[in-house]
């Protein structure tokens, strides 16, 4: 029994940490978001049984990726004729060509040389040809692995409406052939801006939840923080990413003190500064400094700098 519980925990943990990696790597083989999503979901279900039987693998992400990619290959082989009629989401470029009939394909994948495609996935979900609502929903579903009904709850719409949104958005990606790639340098600032806006919107939606007893919908806030951290890890040099992560950290450090016992909103000067999360504020401060270096700071870096000054001041009156 204990083993079963620990396996379930391991699968849940892998869902939280590895979903984006596994899905992004599977899209490359499946060449279609829907198929990839289905295979990844199946891989997690398979993991529950397999890990109970054989133990949790040393690298759960690699195990899940191999399993999901194998399922995708199987599905493609079964549907060879159908596939030829579907538009390919991913243009087969030489570097990542996968020969469906080559028996060594799976071995290569198991060799561990799975490229990290999370950035491709992120930029596809936040493509400017998609509405902001679609970008947000796709990001939660495909990058964070949040279920459609949970996304629907977070945005106060019915599950059916949210499912229709997601289907429409994915259909546009495949019919209009929104490419599965990281933007080139000259388009990067604009494209990155859209990604940051999506993360920021997720955070603010969670931070000032329009309904319910809790002012903060912790889920969305944490997802936004996870996304900002993921992006920072994938593009460590981008200053605006540092700025956004800093802004979220410093704002979030005050989370527990924003309301009183009755749930009433408190002004900053009424909040209990001793309860603010100092570690988060320190981390935010270091990031702000990095984001400001070199001049021409972006808007997230500037907002973060202001928020950090407020958070670091010993009292409201002594704020710089």
């Amino acid at each position: 029994m204990r083993r079963a519980a620990s396996v379930e925990r391991a699968v849940a943990e892998a869902h939280r940490r590895e979903w984006a990696f596994v899905l992004a790597a599977t899209v490359r083989v499946a060449r279609d978001l829907d198929l990839a999503e289905e295979c990844v979901q199946e891989a997690y279900v398979t993991a529950l049984d397999a890990w109970k039987r054989d133990g949790v693998p040393a690298r759960p992400g690699a195990w899940l990726t191999t399993t999901a990619r194998r399922k995708a290959l199987d599905a493609l082989r079964r549907g060879q004729t159908l596939r030829s009629k579907l538009p390919l989401l991913v243009e087969p470029d030489k570097s990542d060509e996968v020969d469906m009939n080559d028996p060594t394909v799976i071995d290569t994948i198991e060799g561990g040389a799975v490229p990290d495609d999370r950035l491709r996935l992120i930029f596809t979900c936040c493509h400017p040809a998609l509405s902001r609502e679609a970008q947000v929903a796709l990001t939660l579903r495909l990058i964070c692995g949040v279920s459609t009904s949970e996304i629907a709850q977070a945005f106060l719409v019915s599950k059916r409406t949210m499912a229709a949104h997601l289907t429409r958005a994915k259909k546009k990606i495949s019919a209009a052939r929104i490419p599965y790639r990281v933007p080139q340098t000259h388009e990067l600032p604009e494209r990155l801006d859209a990604v940051l806006a999506v993360i920021h919107l997720l955070y603010t939606t969670g931070h000032t939840a329009p309904s319910g007893e809790d002012l903060v919908r912790t889920d969305l806030v944490e997802r936004a923080l996870d996304l900002a951290r993921m992006l920072r890890e994938l593009m460590p040099e981008e200053r605006e990413i540092k700025g956004l992560l800093a802004l979220l950290l410093v704002t979030d450090a005050r989370r527990s003190t924003r309301t009183d016992d009755q749930g009433r909103l408190l002004l900053m000067e009424e909040q209990d500064r001793s309860a603010w999360d100092r570690t988060a504020i320190e981390e935010g401060h270091r990031l702000v400094v990095g984001a400001l270096v070199g001049g021409n700071a972006g808007r997230y870096a500037l907002q973060a700098a202001i928020a950090a000054l407020h958070a670091q001041a010993p009292s409201h009156a002594e704020t710089d």
Binding site: P87, E91, A175, R177, P179, E187
Partner: protein, 109 residues
Amino acid sequence: MPQYAILLYAPAPADWAETPPEELEAHDRYAAQIEELEGRIVSGQALEPSSTATSIRGDVVTDGPFVESKEVLGGFTVIEARDLDHALEIAKLSPATWRGGVEVRPLLG
């Protein structure tokens, strides 16, 4: 390569005779620009102004464009491009974006 229609919208009635000469000249140069971007023009047509349009809904025939609006369809270009990003890069250069705008639609492939 996939094909996209670039639908050209101009202030009603989208009369090419009233199009500023510099915009017409830009349209002449546009074909070469598309080639420079490694896209290909499949076909293209300019339309007579929307004041010449006749619409039919069900079995009712009416004078004018199908949808009444400030900007109306004035023509279209069908291009081949690598993907949506490539198609948008090409469409952004269309002189039709100056006064009106364009809509990019993938052709059902």
